[in-house]
Symmetry: C2
Subunit: 255 residues, 2 copies
Amino acid sequence: MCELLGMSANVPTDICFSFTGLVKRGGGTGPHKDGWGITFYEGKGYRAFKDPEPSYLSPVANMVQNYPIKSMAVIAHIRQANSGVVALENTHPFTRELWGKYWTFAHNGQLTDYQKLETGFFQPVGETDSEYAFCYLLHKLITKYPQRPKQWAGVFRYIAKCAKELSKLGVFNMLLSDGQYVIAYCSTNLHWITRQAPFGKAKLIDEEVEIDFQKHTSPTDIVTVIATQPLTSNEHWHKIQPEHYELFKNGLQIK
Amino acid sequence: MCELLGMSANVPTDICFSFTGLVKRGGGTGPHKDGWGITFYEGKGYRAFKDPEPSYLSPVANMVQNYPIKSMAVIAHIRQANSGVVALENTHPFTRELWGKYWTFAHNGQLTDYQKLETGFFQPVGETDSEYAFCYLLHKLITKYPQRPKQWAGVFRYIAKCAKELSKLGVFNMLLSDGQYVIAYCSTNLHWITRQAPFGKAKLIDEEVEIDFQKHTSPTDIVTVIATQPLTSNEHWHKIQPEHYELFKNGLQIK
């Protein structure tokens, strides 16, 4: 099992607070000791930090917590290895280019028979079921849309359809982003929350940290956080129903 | 103009010393104020740190200098923008997957008419001549070798041939690596040095730093550093002749 964390916002926002909660689960309060990664979009570019070491011990994770990188779309993951050795090439999130955009993917779950998935031109570098599944998704997309599509809602509906196919091979909770949209496909567990004015206080479940969002936000900010399990104890998180998806853009649920 | 830095080694080696020299040129002692990036291979995976900010001011560059990441293949770049805006998506090095391997590319120089280059399936995300050239190279490679090749010397000869074509469009000094090999193509300026036992002392040109390699190495270590201009003042660097290339693996020149 692994844990996923995603963010979609309408202004560049730092994810330090949520990342602090996730990092503690990386071998601290949780069993996910086999690496972690976080990818921040900045415009059309991205910045990725990852480590095959447990996140609660990692100096790079420490740097990310203390150096607030602001982004409108973030995908993060902590890992307990169940497929593929503990190595950098097997550490999520994975990023590949398609249609002149960078796509970033992270997966929670386990698939069987994934080696049979056709990936065409997109070859996995590591050995994980997750990277195979990502390559399969990209291959399905370029096959259906050889040219860069113009209507994105249909593209994400098709992504969800392919994700449903993948979930027949096991557990497939997924976060995927192109830097503008964040799609969350739920096979078993994914929760989300949208924070906007009036902002309140939030308290992390995993650490004695409380944040007063009102002090860190402006009244027009809209920020959605998606996570395997709720990260705060005093807010209401929505659970995505199994085999359903949610789509977010600029902090808003748009499906 | 930009500056390139590459490393090939037979043991995981930290590049802090050379990177310190390069970083000073990022708006400090040199004019390259428009971003910097460094990519370290670890096994089949890689770690990339980059910033559109000048390297001598960047907190991420500071972290990289103080946190010795050990690698056998490194590509780094500092940039003075001449094509494409100052943005993360235009910041070298660029990394893409081909044949199930990650390829990392950085370019020094300027090309004209690059928008006409065919890039096929590999679409540029940003606007630089450099990323176009990289996509063109990958497109040429997948066209010539639709399946993963087995004889790499021939592949790198072909890469050098394509680089020579690109250098007809302007200045094209290039570093490219698949994590095992590092190829350096010289259009105008590229220098390299191989350090091995008996190790001596080296003194950085750009900063009052001296390092005694004997204290930081074992007698079997072999480390090659490639840079636009020599980084040390008391060692002999080889200049690559214009329109020639050198190929390195495990720290050794193998062409």
